[in-house]
Amino acid sequence: MQDLISSNDKFSGNSSLEAYVLHLADNALLLGQKNAEWCGHGPILEQDIAITNISLDLIGQARNLYQYAASLINQSTNKHSFAEATEGKPINLASEDSLACLRTEREFKNCLLVEQPNGDWAQTMLRQFLFSSYQYYLYQYLQNNADETLSAISEKSLKEVTYHLRWSSEWVIRMGDGTEESKLRMQYAMEELWRYTGELFIPVYYEKELGIDVGPLKDNWLEKVKLVLDEATLSIPENVFMQTGGKTGTHTEHLGYILTELQYLQRTYPGCEW
């Protein structure tokens, strides 16, 4: 089954670098979108502002990554498929907007964690913490990548992710080591979300082909996560079956609903600008 999925995905024609950049972009876009749903609904004004600030940072990451993916896709399209039909004139089929707003669910390569429901504030904070701690180590690793654009985006994003990690760690601790009710909710969030952390460190075909070794990042990540969870008096659920598939396009039911809302305007009014 896994092979079938990855060959389907390959059929979309993306090179492994294109696929990987899209994977990073989709992660950032989806979590940015989910966090933005809190706009006007945060528990207090300052935290409403904080979560939407993080959302803006993530959408900024997504924009830069989609722009890069679009330039890669347009280069290879012009080189291979359309050179004859357009008499050598370059055409630009992909753009940051088309990649975000016109791909289907199976073409999205984000990890399952970022598409999980906001739930309550505990679930949103834990999702942010688990993901920011992952991005923190991933971008440290990628800023040394030979690909200059990837390395530049990572270096720049890392500065912002450091804030996201510190802020979300504080919330996990505050609620885990808080009242009986807040601890209950945090522990419930752990039961809900832990199963989506496994795939972050299991390389899929595009990571393997690019030599991007996400596996070894797990040790640092786990050490950091345990440190915060210990302080928050929370425990890691045992014997959890780790869900996988998001990175190659097999998603949980939630992604379809998110995309329906996110893509509504471009699907209904193609090319609409404002």
């Binding site: 300052e46 600030n53 900024g60 270096e155 510190r166």
Partner: protein, 161 residues
């Protein structure tokens, strides 16, 4: 200016007129957003960098640069957006820091060893260092929200980045 040459100093003076739409007391030069200006053949290349990845002011700033340079008579202008090296508050001019404080925003402050300051950010109103953080995230990506424990005023702090 002679044809075919540019005086960077003069151009920077003109670009000084363009303010950050979110912090209108600072120019894009004060912020260190403009990284370079080069004349390549007859095209003027301006390299800019964003403060934060998702800064919504960048499109507006790029347009403002284009308008300013067009009024100066440049016909071909190319705006290059660089990501690396990543913008840092270390590029903010001293004049910029002074203007921020006068405006009521605490400028970015580092400790003597160069590390970011977490405690004791100086209140821009009464200069007290007896202040505390309300929120790590403020009204824009570049600011955090603080309060002064002495004069009791809340204030924005332009984060070290």
């Amino acid at each position: 200016m002679k044809p075919g040459t540019i005086d960077k100093k003069v151009l920077y003076e003109y670009l000084e007129e363009i303010k950050d739409p979110e912090v209108p007391v600072l120019s894009i030069i004060d912020l260190g957003i403009v990284r370079d200006i080069q004349l390549k053949d007859d095209e003027l290349e301006v390299t800019i960098t964003s403060t934060y990845m998702g800064c919504p002011a960048m499109d507006m700033i790029a347009t403002a640069i284009r308008i300013e340079l067009t009024t100066l008579g440049f016909k071909k202008i190319k705006i290059i957006r660089a990501i690396s090296p990543a913008w840092t508050t270390g590029w903010m001019s001293e004049a910029g820091k002074r203007k921020l404080k006068e405006y009521g925003i605490a400028p970015p402050q580092t400790r003597s060893d160069g590390l970011r300051l977490t405690d004791g950010v100086e209140c821009p109103h009464c200069n007290s260092k007896n202040t505390s953080v309300i929120s790590e995230f403020g009204s824009t990506a570049c600011k955090a929200l603080y309060r002064c424990n002495d004069c009791k005023e809340p204030f924005d702090y332009f984060k070290c980045h």
